[in-house]
Symmetry: D2
């Protein structure tokens, strides 16, 4: 059933058909396509373009087709090219020639844009839940580890001791921004393009707002040419999704590092690790590496989509058909990575002693000493230099700062009396960090409470 059968003298070649048919992947839009068609014919009836009976017949027929599809009782045909034509063919078989009225005042150009927007809107909602699950897992672990001390790194060098909860909450904040970006993207996706027809609207007295209302869209397109050629929402989603993946990849990288023998900060649940076909002792963080690797893939899809769109004249061009596989792949990847990460975080055991010991080893409290000297009236720059020389002294003799002799401290500055020693414990150093958003236990406890509140609100509002 080629729709343009009227014009073409010869049948399209099989090779061309194979090359251009999209049913191999766009069948995934069947739910949206049917839902959209139902709304469309209902509107056509309301507007008097078709009769109520015709509409009812088609709506019911489409409903049956949906069930057939979900029971795997349909045959997708490549000669029908895409999901739209396959379903129209099925409807023809169900309800007879009236099926030909379904496409009145509609083009596949606005139809596919509609399907894609409905699809992405649904997937964004699911992904927002997926992000929330990761956030929830982070909060649960953070709640257990407010007082767990770990080395805070910059440049992968021990910087200052921090609370593990504080570290985990950093990821909560990243994902919180992801939630916002996904919501912004959802808002711009949530606009109905139906009624733009091929590119210029139609002479039929349609009501695009009625369709939009039925499909629960917040907005309706305002320019028909833009409506059929806009794929910004796909790009914006891929960009937002790339950032989600970047965040997951950073956490994955850390957990890979931490599960190494050398760090030994975490014990991953065996379910999420893999063995070696040759080395019997191995317990590999496979799933985390996959998350890290899949990040590259999503970034690649983003690049690809931008390249597809660059320099494309208006309005619809078949290049846009290339939006689907990338979008589907990105959605699936995100979903499975979010799900994996939520479970991995939830099941990871933090080796708190190893963490604390590592924090103690790295001269991580040197900043405290510098700050103390500033409190005594020195400029920060001078204090920094003095403590630097103390670190050099300690390091050269393999000692920690608090193993330095009284005289050695005095030698650098008479201000460094015994009372400064208490600053050198990692516990004290963390407690000291009382500034807003800092790693002190009071601040972290507060931040955790707020995060929990925000997450609950988010979950409740969806």
């Amino acid at each position: 059933m080629k729709l343009w059968g009227g014009r073409f003298g010869t049948a399209g070649g099989r090779a061309a058909e194979r090359f251009t048919a999209s049913i191999g992947f766009d069948w995934r839009l069947y739910r949206e396509d049917i839902e959209g068609s139902q709304a469309h014919v209902r509107m056509l009836a309301i507007q008097g373009i078709i009769t109520r009976e015709e509409s009812d017949l088609m709506v019911a027929g489409l409903e049956e087709i949906r069930q057939d599809i979900e029971r795997c009782q349909v045959e997708w045909r490549r000669e029908d090219e895409d999901i739209h034509m396959n379903i129209e063919r099925m409807l023809l078989a169900k309800v007879g020639p009236v099926a030909g009225k379904m496409h009145t005042a509609r083009s596949r150009n606005d139809q596919v844009a509609l399907d894609l927007r409905l699809f992405l809107r649904r997937r964004i909602d699911e992904l927002a839940t997926g992000v929330a699950h990761v956030q929830s897992a982070l909060l649960a672990q953070a709640g257990d580890h407010i007082h767990t001390i770990m080395p805070g790194y910059t440049h992968l060098q021990v910087g200052q001791p921090v609370s593990l909860a504080h570290h985990l909450l950093a990821y909560f904040d990243m994902l919180e921004r992801d939630q916002e970006r996904l919501a912004d993207c959802r808002r711009r996706t949530d606009v109905s393009p139906l009624g733009a027809c091929a590119l210029g609207g139609t002479s039929f007295p349609i009501d695009p707002e009625e369709v939009a209302a039925q499909l629960d869209f917040k907005g309706v397109f305002s320019n028909s040419i833009d409506a059929v050629s806009d794929r910004d929402f796909v790009v914006e989603f891929l960009a937002s999704g790339s950032l989600v993946m970047v965040h997951l990849s950073r956490l994955a990288e850390e957990l890979v590092l931490w599960s190494s023998q050398e760090f030994g900060f975490v014990e991953l649940d065996e379910a999420w690790t893999g063995g070696s076909s040759i080395m019997p002792q191995k317990k590999n963080p496979d799933s985390l590496e996959l998350v890290r690797g899949k990040t590259g893939r999503v970034i690649g899809h983003l690049t690809g989509m931008l390249t597809v769109l660059k320099g494309l004249p208006l309005a619809y061009n078949s290049d846009l058909q290339e939006d689907k596989e990338a979008l589907f792949a990105a959605c699936d990847t995100l979903e499975e990575c979010l799900s994996a990460m939520a479970q991995i975080i939830a099941t990871t055991i933090f080796c708190t002693e190893r963490m604390a010991r590592a924090a103690e080893k790295g001269y991580s409290t040197a900043t405290e000493l510098a700050d103390f000297l500033v409190g005594q009236g020195l400029t920060f720059r001078d204090a920094h230099a003095m403590v630097g020389s103390l670190v050099a002294l300690a390091e050269s003799s393999g000692r920690s700062l608090d193993q330095l002799e009284k005289e050695e401290l005095w030698g650098v500055s008479p201000l460094l009396g015994e009372e400064c020693r208490r600053l050198l414990s990692v516990q004290a150093a963390v407690k000291q960090k009382r500034s807003r958003g800092g790693t002190g236990p009071t601040q972290v406890t507060q931040a955790l409470a707020q995060a929990q509140l925000r997450l609950e609100q988010r979950v409740r509002s969806t």
Copy 2:
């Protein structure tokens, strides 16, 4: 003046210095760096960490440095590595050792994040204006061309006649979404990271909210580790900027096509075209091609930045230093492309007769005939097939649809009487498209008025 002079026995090698120094590009942040430092020392004084006199001295010294820089009376030194240390060195020269107090309760990690956010916030505002200028140029042209008829293309084949104003307004809508995305990105950029210090906050009784208020930030960081390692706002900006460029590239492509001899739809202003060093007759749309080409560059910067961030452990790593050149280049590229496009659009002359003639040639009103038949009770599919055979008939004899004989029309369907001929004029076809968001003159006039209103509101609100 290496700040960590206290610890290092040997001087850093020149080669290493050359490799790691960022002053060659980050000097562009001088304004933000100074502004941020002034706010910081003022806060330190308010909180009693330094005295009011010390603060005043430093604020005044920094002010002088700003003026020195703007008068090109400073020397940037590579051995001072970056903008922060260069300015601190200058301040030391101006106000003496008290300059050493400027860095109290601050790290370059939060300082550079602050500078970058201030910088981007300013540039986003400028770019929003740049986008508005392009929008304004589009509206001006659209206002002149509501009744100009051109071929609406899909697949670069003539589809249906549309109003040129309608076509131009499609770009207005794209840029309107860009405005929203830039605003969303601005909102997430508009968060002060100062007070996060190295990564964990500080034991000094600082007030990050005071600094944020002074610098007119809407928000303050909530997690110090995230605050210093977050570059989401850079990625989000590059993604939003890539979409702006994609839109400009689509318009550039169309104008390049339209300025070809074969289309002949526009006459570009000579100022924005170039000649050939060998072919005396050439008038090349150089600027438009550059806009199209530069799109690739911005997309490349986005890819690059995502790749930089992928798999990076917390908190600050020097990889992040690579954010600046890409961001600067993208901002500059966007600014100059927006400016060029605004001027090109404003000065382009549309060859309305060529456009109208092209619209008439392409059987662009065939859809009207099909819609007419549907109005007579046919299903759309049947109508589509009938009109398809009429087009084939006309095409084979080199005629337009309205040159078909009465008998030929009848031969296909007795419904196709004389009255259907009036549908075949492009003017009538455009007028018929009365649906919401369609290309009919009433709709376009309305859309234009709304667009003008929105643009005015936007301009007024900034």
Copy 3:
């Protein structure tokens, strides 16, 4: 059949299994996996590590498995994770416990690298043939169009008249470079990694060269750590493939332009065009647009793979599992695009009169006049300026250059006598371009003959 069953106390969770299993896509390597295992066990027997009987048994069992797979008589199990373990499980069922010896002195790390190299080597050969088919189609058309004159464009403005054959041969040359790049990439792919084992080689007296010889590899790995972590060949292939796609996209863009009503230079075969669901007159260059769009996708895969590899420590990491889907997708895309393009080129009809007329319209011979003046002793710059003013004169009065009056020519320079008029025909202009590699008929005829020769040699050598 988890191989590391010995160590893990608990069974891996289903979710993790779903996330990490690769059998959903790496089953496509079955042929290479079996071939590689057969070579491996044969070598083990030759080296006396297993017996000849054991080897024979396994080789025969693997052969049966291959046939089972090709007859779709196997069940792929996700709990067996990947193609390697699925086949090992099948072998166990066929030949009993001896199957456990197949993995002696081998790891999945070198095994999967082997499979991937065998796979890519085969696909490169197929793609080289695909490229040759496009080249062949270009040569066939070029042979028919040595004397067809078309406008040569720069900046999409008419520059100088050229031979259509010359234009088509430009694409031949691009694809010729692609052939070279694919051959270079094949050479670096054609290196056996088997024998690297997990990462360090083995204590078994294996013979990696014997395996390589059996599998017809030109080279053998020289460093076992590199052998298991190298995916350069994947990146290099994706880069070479991206360039192939860029070339196809440029041709596709031109054919899309040329099939527009405005250019009208080509008539595409209907089989490779599509209709509209709403506009009965449309004949859209769908396939060409898809080729253009798919280019973005392949570029995206390249970006993705580079991002995956960036910053990955040695040796094997599961991130590398992400190489396969991108590689498979790129190979398939290239294959189908090459096949489509070969057929599209072969079936396209060039509208030679439209082309010639377009060439005549665009003052395309102005350069000839300038060159003529140089022959008379003027500097090129002066000549360029004079002819420029003639073009301006002609254009302002809507005439072509040869419609200028004698006096008008004289007015610009007395050197411009009647004899210069003959230079103004596009035929003469093309003929004049006698320089090496130029568009003159002698040069093009020669270039075509050489291209044919090169293509034949290439085809013969494979």
Copy 4:
């Protein structure tokens, strides 16, 4: 001095000039531009198109201009747009109107392609030397560390003990492939496009082969249209360069990891590390992080260039002007990263005891035990399972494998007698790996010798 002054009535606007002028960056091609012009005018004289005297005058004038430029005694003018016109203007000032003959039978289209190819050819040679320096530094360290044992990692988990030299030689091999790819790319860059003129060749009796010979090109273009629109060599270089960066980034990542307190495998030279502005104890691997970060930038340039080229019609379009900044940036980045890495590798101290101890800790010799059991007749799968249970036993009691009791070994298999204990030392395990390309000392010594030979040959041949 606008070259197309003859035609344009009005002067180009300043804004447009600013937007399109490339002199701000293409001045870097001055050397190649002059060299190319000298070869061109010499050829023109040889062919009798200009006189010998004219040629000599221009050659000498160009020589002076080169010296002026190198002494910074020239003024680059934006109104002259690009390097070509700036130099032509300077020549006009030096030698008078004859300068107008320099552009005879040449266009900026083939001129800029020539300049870019000359430039890249030179930079590839320099980069090949840069790569060789890194390789040389690797060999020097490898020579010192054939017997240094370190943990070989897969999935960042200790896999098997390997020789540090072997690990370093893996990088040598990666860079060896890079050398090959750069050489392949150089070969395809080393083709002269001069003589293609605007796009179709010329009617002047030029000799492109003479120009090519003078400029030491191995090849000459065969199709003039391709010659001016081909930028494959830029893409191929960026792809090859991206792989170089990927390799450097992997080594950088490892050195960052190894310089962490937790690994402690290396001591970086202080010159190549940085301090903290706030934490006095810090010694950050800044330079390595920059190398890792800059990898993203080069990948971004590759993506950008591919996006620029996608869908571009023939022949020259101004989009191609965007090739230069990306190419320059990539060349510079590669050069400085290679130089930094060579020095970092050369000055890094490997903490051999820490490495050995780490290798001993990770059950890294478990594979040896499995292989031993296979030697006793077990299938590998059974052996793997047995050893797996031994590891579990040892791990649960915090012991290493060789701390297991005789009875415990026997309990798993009577084959595990006392003699198997000697397999458990990391030294023995490494020595056992005698297979080709493996990590055994004999193999590594051999591989090192071959690598040295190859490097010397390479250096000698350039």
